[in-house]
């Protein structure tokens, strides 16, 4: 760190306040230190976040390909027009939404139930963390191998269990267009519930125990306590969990790529899958960028809605 000497020479002062009068030697030193402290992160931030966003937007208006260097010919809105009129795009959009619809309710409700119950268990917390949380920190590829194996057509654990229940010819989960996404959703719920689980556990810790004790004195049953204390007080956690869940679902890629590669046919192809196929299989960077920008806009809209909801919630709580 060559900057060390620079920082140390900064004039010692008693109280760093918000005096921003430029020109004073102190502010100058602080200013330089500020930029030097920001520089390492800033460089990577510009190179791998800001510039790629700009590059993505620019190439979405060009016929950029992987084969030739440079941007290629100007395409105007042709890439966007192509995407927005292409059945594959809307099908990928629908599958992404479908995935979101399948996974969000169980991931929120089950995580809530597990957390409320596990939180009351004074013993064995580690066991529930192990069971529910550990899958979340494992690589998607390991998860996909396990679940693809469980879903092996005919002889796998899933189909065997179905046979045991009396289904003579159980459908191969990942090989049937109508239910392949269900298989991916089940895998995802199993894989990622731990994250919501710990968010809920953290939220539960903030609820003062006295509330429950007071309610119990008044003769409230556990069900009533959950209904009128736990659920309302976890409102903000629930909003957070739902919206993080939706944004995460929009970015789904790993499970689909690993388990079905978008198939059978294109029945599980999702937006990010379409983007990478367009770029890395068809070599059409321009078109892929247009699709990325569209996906980005969708995620941005969801995030903005999230901000609005959180704001409204905070305001409501402030006035209460």
């Amino acid at each position: 760190m060559t900057a060390t000497a620079e920082f140390q020479s900064a004039t010692p002062v008693a109280r760093p306040t918000r005096d921003d009068e430029a020109g004073s030697p102190r502010t100058k030193g602080m200013s330089r230190a500020g930029w030097l402290f920001l520089a390492p992160f800033g460089i990577f931030y510009v190179l791998f976040l800001i510039w790629p966003v700009i590059y993505m937007v620019i190439t979405s208006f060009f016929n950029t390909t992987m084969i030739k260097n440079g941007f290629g010919g100007f395409a105007g809105f042709a890439n966007y027009q192509e995407m927005l009129t292409k059945p594959e795009f809307w099908s990928a959009m629908w599958h992404t939404i479908q995935f979101t619809i399948y996974t969000t309710p169980p991931l929120v409700i089950l995580a809530f139930v597990f957390a409320v119950l596990a939180n009351r268990a004074q013993h064995g917390q580690w066991f529930f963390r192990l069971a529910f949380f550990v899958p979340f920190i494992l690589p998607s590829a390991a998860i996909a191998l396990i679940w693809t194996f469980i879903f092996t057509p005919g002889t796998g654990l899933w189909n065997s269990f179905q046979s045991l229940l009396g289904d003579d010819a159980p459908l191969p989960v990942l090989g049937t267009p109508s239910i392949a996404m269900v298989g991916i959703a089940i895998t995802t719920v199993w894989w990622t519930i731990g994250f919501n689980f710990v968010l809920y556990l953290a939220g539960l810790q903030d609820i003062p125990r006295e509330l429950y004790e007071a309610a119990a004195v008044d003769g409230a049953s556990p069900w009533q306590q959950i209904r009128s204390i736990t659920i309302p007080l976890l409102n903000r956690t629930t909003t957070l969990v739902i919206l993080l869940q939706i944004v995460a679902s929009m970015k789904i890629f790993d499970q689909v790529y690993l388990m079905t590669a978008g198939g059978p046919g294109i029945s599980t192809q999702v937006l990010l899958g379409l983007v990478t196929t367009t770029a890395f299989t068809d070599y059409r960077v321009g078109a892929a960028s247009a699709a990325s920008v569209l996906l980005f806009i969708v995620i941005l809209l969801i995030t903005l809605v999230r901000q609005l909801i959180v704001r409204a919630q905070e305001r409501r709580e402030a006035t209460r």
Binding site: F37, L38, F48, V53, T155, S221, L258
Partner: protein, 316 residues
């Protein structure tokens, strides 16, 4: 379990340890005579305990089955596994043959190395750089600071996965494809860490640094010898979150690494299905081997990992 509160509203710690044990023993154990408020709460408390524990245990077991199934299969002969679930369940001649095959012949050691190198370096750079940036935003006043702040906030909105195509193009132009750097560099700007750090730094009283500053210590020294040591817990949490995230990242290494010797664990595992074909036990063993380092990490840093993920709100 709220029997505790229903029956003995005044007892604190003593009652805490009891409900689960009582629940396991069933209904009969759930009625020690204490001064109980006589109302419906007690009966429903008991049924709640039973239902709660049943539900929790059933789901926990359900959640463990896939992992246990993978472990069992990995310890079964390939020939038996190929027959199907029933055969795997019945065969208890456990063997480590699959692990032996993988560890002696496969690329798995290369994958471990790649994952370890890329995840470690990314973590070191990401934590150090984002802590420095957070220090600047938290402690130093300078022109342009607010603009930077807004730019960083904007960065939270950008999901890195969406940028895979432009990042690939840039790495391609830079000649970095098929190097570890292609995996490391793009993952360094972890904006969320900056905000987590900034929030933490904002909470550290300034008096500490001021007394040091009077002694003539510069900003770098006050950052390194006052702020950093005080922030050890949050740094550890962010380091682990970053490490796990980088280790597990699939989409970036998938497209920027094609040399099997350089592949990280997730990319390597992604090729397993195709190359091992019917060797189902080997496939499951490779999945277990891929998951193992993270399970160990979890067992060591349980609390930090949970706190880190809950605190950063990072997902996917």
């Amino acid at each position: 379990m709220t029997e505790r509160t229903a029956e003995t509203p005044t007892t604190e710690q003593g009652a805490d340890s009891r409900p689960p044990r009582r629940a396991r023993n069933g209904v009969s154990a759930a009625a020690p005579a204490r001064h109980v408020p006589e109302n419906g709460a007690r009966a429903s408390g008991r049924s709640f305990t039973i239902v709660a524990w049943t539900v929790l245990i059933i789901f926990a077991v359900l959640w463990l089955i896939p992992s246990l199934w993978a472990i069992k299969t990995s310890l079964t002969d390939n020939g038996v596994s190929a027959v199907g679930a029933g055969a795997i369940l019945k065969d208890w001649n456990l063997t480590f043959a699959s692990y032996y095959t993988l560890l002696s012949a496969g690329n798995i050691w290369n994958w471990y190395l790649a994952s370890f190198v890329t995840a470690s370096l990314t973590t070191i750079f990401a934590v150090l750089f984002s802590a420095m940036a957070a220090y600047a935003l938290s402690r130093l006043r300078f022109r342009g600071r607010n603009v930077i702040f807004l730019l960083f906030i904007g960065g939270i909105l950008v999901p890195p996965q969406v940028l895979i195509v432009p990042i690939f193009q840039m790495l391609n132009i830079g000649g970095l494809l098929n190097t570890y750097w292609a995996v490391i560099l793009p993952q360094i700007p972890t904006v969320i860490s900056v905000f987590v750090f900034k929030q933490f730094f904002d909470g550290i009283p300034r008096d500490f640094e001021e007394s040091a500053r009077i002694d003539g210590a510069g900003y770098w020294r006050s950052f390194r010898s006052i702020i950093m040591p005080l922030s050890r817990p949050v740094m550890a949490a962010m380091a682990i979150v970053t490490f796990v995230g980088t280790w597990n990242n699939l989409i970036l290494p998938l497209f920027v690494l094609s040399n099997p010797k350089l592949m990280t664990i997730p990319v390597g595992l992604a090729t397993v299905q195709g190359s091992y074909g019917q060797r189902l036990s080997d496939i499951q063993a490779s999945s277990i081997l891929g998951a193992l380092p993270l399970v160990i990490l979890f067992l060591i840093f349980q609390r930090r990992i949970v706190e880190g993920f809950a605190g950063s709100g990072l997902k996917g």
